[in-house]
């Protein structure tokens, strides 16, 4: 193992994040802010997304700030400009529960150019090499106070074009070490060395336009396993035309390999039948009460190229839906958050790869 890879291996909870990881986050993960606030284009959306895999609990937190897209909204000019801030909080012990909270502008502080966001008493901030998260459900039944230490280099992808819309952008930190606690009712889950994931998305795009995605992130159950994986596939709304696809692999702190587009074959098997689905915001369940989805029972991928290969299988488990009203019509966009298991094997640069662990895959579209 060469010195660079040895230094880059930061899977131990006790290891401090490298200066490179810190630099990557401070210079890549900063909040872009909506240009409409200063007379630029509208329809901006931006969110910070976190997923923590505890021993007996999964937690999803999504802090979002999106432009007001109503035709009758105040013109996008300075003080008349409106944004909407929301916290999506989902937690799973045996099954997903959660909510979406909306915040008035007076209760929101967004640190443009930094990773710093406050929605009411819910906060996310990156400082001293750590993300500090605090979140609480409106009724206090769910509470999370977590510190996340990134141990993998962020990967940033800009200007991903889909259809005829403006491009989207994202940054991914595939592996963090979580400490803190998550309380669900009277039960408190202590996190000590739990693995976690973070991404940040931004761009001018409209819910209801002709795009869909499958986005998955998986981490091994064995924290000493250095491999981390992110799967991305963008398609049209009908899932008939793939616009881009990729499997991103990190070994320790370093992004080791990306299988792109034609290197990958992706398939789905079956349809996951749900007896129940946690729908948030709850009121959207009245508009979209369906339990039928196009979430597959399994999503499989195979990649090969340059002497490397990978085979992976995600098996769908419990599901939650984040349901969003479309920007320009009376339809809805459904983001299916599916907890499941991930099995991956392969060989990368002559080294065996294996991941057996948990994953959350998002299926957005219908």
């Amino acid at each position: 193992m060469d010195a660079a890879r040895s230094c880059a291996d930061a899977t131990s909870p006790a290891a401090a994040p490298s200066a490179a990881i810190n630099w990557g986050i401070e210079n890549g993960d900063w909040l872009r802010r909506a240009p409409g606030r200063v007379g630029g284009a509208g329809q901006h959306k931006e969110w910070l997304h976190f997923c923590v895999y505890g021993d007996a609990v999964d937690l999803l937190l999504n802090f979002s700030v999106v432009d007001d897209v109503r035709d009758d909204a105040p013109a996008s000019r300075h003080t008349a400009y409106e944004e909407h801030a929301r916290l999506t909080l989902l937690v799973r012990e045996r099954a997903w529960i959660g909510e979406v909270q909306s915040f008035a502008a007076r209760d929101v502080a967004v640190g443009g150019g930094r990773v710093e966001l406050r929605l009411g008493d819910n906060t996310v901030r990156f400082a001293n090499g750590r993300y500090a998260l605090r979140a609480r459900s409106a009724d206090g039944a769910i509470e999370a106070e977590i510190e996340l230490m990134p141990v993998a280099m962020p990967s940033i992808v800009n200007n991903v074009q889909y259809g005829n819309g403006p491009p989207i952008n994202w940054l991914v930190v595939p592996r963090l070490i979580a400490s803190g606690r998550v309380r669900v009712g009277a039960r408190t889950h202590v996190l000590d060395g739990a693995l976690a994931y973070h991404d940040h998305n931004w761009g001018h795009f409209g819910w209801g336009r002709d795009f869909a995605w499958e986005w998955g992130y998986g981490l091994p159950s064995d924290a000493s396993n250095p491999w981390s994986l992110v799967f991305v596939r963008l398609s049209d709304r009908a899932h008939t035309r793939c616009r881009m696809q990729g499997v991103f692999l990190w070994r320790g702190a370093r992004e080791e390999r990306v299988f792109w587009d034609r290197e990958l074959q992706v398939g789905q098997r079956g349809l996951r039948r749900f007896a129940r689905l946690c729908k948030v915001p709850a009121i959207m369940g009245l508009i979209h009460p369906d339990l039928a989805t196009d979430v597959p029972e399994e999503l499989c991928f195979e990649g090969a190229g340059e002497g490397d290969f990978i085979r992976g299988r995600f098996v769908s488990g419990d599901g939650a839906q984040v349901i969003l009203p479309n920007d320009r019509d009376l339809g809805v966009t459904v983001i299916n958050e599916i907890a499941g298991t991930l099995e991956v094997e392969g060989r990368i640069r002559g080294e065996e790869l294996r991941i057996d662990g948990r994953a959350v895959f998002e299926f957005l579209g219908r």
Partner: protein, 154 residues
């Protein structure tokens, strides 16, 4: 004086007051949906019975109006605040509430279908209106003493 302020306070906390405020918000914040909603109920009177309150929704040239109960309603919906809160919190669905007879809708088939479409339009306006989370929260708090506890959706 306790009496008048109590009754005016009760009126402010009524379902009718919430409905009027929500329609006002939809009218100002999603006017296109408000117009579609009014058009969907054109020529139809809908009676709403929630707890002890009875009122009629009527479509007029300038939009929907909530008026005192009168004859001629083609559709009647009867329910209670607890069921409404369970619906908005995800604790139950329209179908489950109807099967449990917690929500009863009466009318001709075509009129009931039309009313359901209008109800969904109302919800479409509500979820796009920035004021509705606050208004719904105020209504929930006004009913908390009477309604079962509803917290995070599960």
């Amino acid at each position: 004086m306790a009496g008048p302020s109590s009754s005016s306070s009760a009126a402010e906390r009524s379902f009718r007051a919430f409905l009027v405020r929500s329609l006002d918000a939809i009218t100002h914040e999603t006017p296109a949906i408000a117009r579609a909603l009014a058009a969907s109920l054109a020529g139809t009177l809908v009676r709403l019975c929630v707890d002890d309150e009875r009122m009629v929704v009527a479509s007029r040239l300038d939009g929907l109006a909530i008026v005192d109960d009168l004859e001629g309603a083609l559709v009647e919906l009867a329910t209670d605040s607890a069921t409404l809160l369970d619906l908005t919190s995800g604790a139950t669905s329209f179908l489950d509430a109807a099967l449990a007879e917690r929500l009863v809708v009466r009318g001709g088939v075509d009129d009931v279908v039309r009313f359901y479409d209008s109800l969904i339009l109302y919800l479409q306006g509500a979820v796009r209106s920035p004021s509705l989370p606050r208004l719904l929260g105020e209504f929930e708090r006004s009913r908390r003493a009477c309604a079962p506890e509803n917290g995070v959706q599960g």
